[in-house]
Amino acid sequence: MTTLAHFQILASLLFAIGLFGAVTRRNAIIVLLSIEIMFNAANLSLVAFWRYSPHPEQLSGVMFAIFGIAISAAEAAVGLALVIVIYRYYKSIQVDEMRTLKG
């Protein structure tokens, strides 16, 4: 039988994979997509908590997941627009080549 702990461990594993991608990769697009993996892991965790909650008729976890999806879609749109502008300026989207602010 699948318990709540299985879902939460899977969600934390996916969150760790997304964090690994976000701190390791140099390409800005892949960094943004790793952040999307972390968003999805959090949504999976929220929906699993809703499914196992004593008051599922409140629909709290489902509502959190829907608002999370809307916010992460807005983040992806702005982030990819920024990537395109950065590419026009630096002719590159490697995150460690953007160091104008470094002292």
Binding site: M1, T2, T3, L4, A5, H6, Q8, I9, L10, S12, L13, L14, F15, A16, I17, G18, L19, F20, G21, V23, T24, R25, R26, N27, I29, I30, L32, L33, S34, E36, I37, N40, N43, L44, A48, W50, R51, Y52, L59, V62, M63, A65, I66, I69, A70, I71, S72, A73, A74, A76, A77, V78, L80, A81, V83, I84, V85, Y87, R88, Y89
Partner: protein
Amino acid sequence: MDTAFIILSLITVGGAVWAVTLRNLMHAVLSLVLFFFGIAGFFFYLNADFVGWVQILVYVGAVAILAIFAIMLTHNLTAEDEPEFFSLRWLTGLAVAGAVGAVLWFAIKNNTAMSQVAPVGVASNVADIGRKMMTDWVVPFEVVSLLLTAALIGSIVIAMEQISHRK
């Protein structure tokens, strides 16, 4: 654990690992689509049908296509100077992600409330979600619609700035 959970776990973990390790950016985005489908499968498995369909529409339909467009607009299909396996950068990332994952795993393992089995008959139908969204959740709903409008206008302004400078 039942069979559906194991299959969906393999799909999502495999898609996520490929998405963060593959060097060809297009292959990475396609593995990410596999991951998004796996998460949508989990939402169906958890009886949250509406969230599953929203996941497919927003992530597979919009975010993945947007990422593919960004890759094509930046002419950068293969990332040559990505860190090698077991380089210092790679090991540092693995240590950070491993530490965060270990803390979460420890917290979940030590929580006895996590070992309950799923109650039967829990489902979310779209009519209830719509009613909740228009009553209890109407303020967050309006705030999110404002946020989406701001993001839409903001991304257009950010991407158009360079064109006005060029004149």
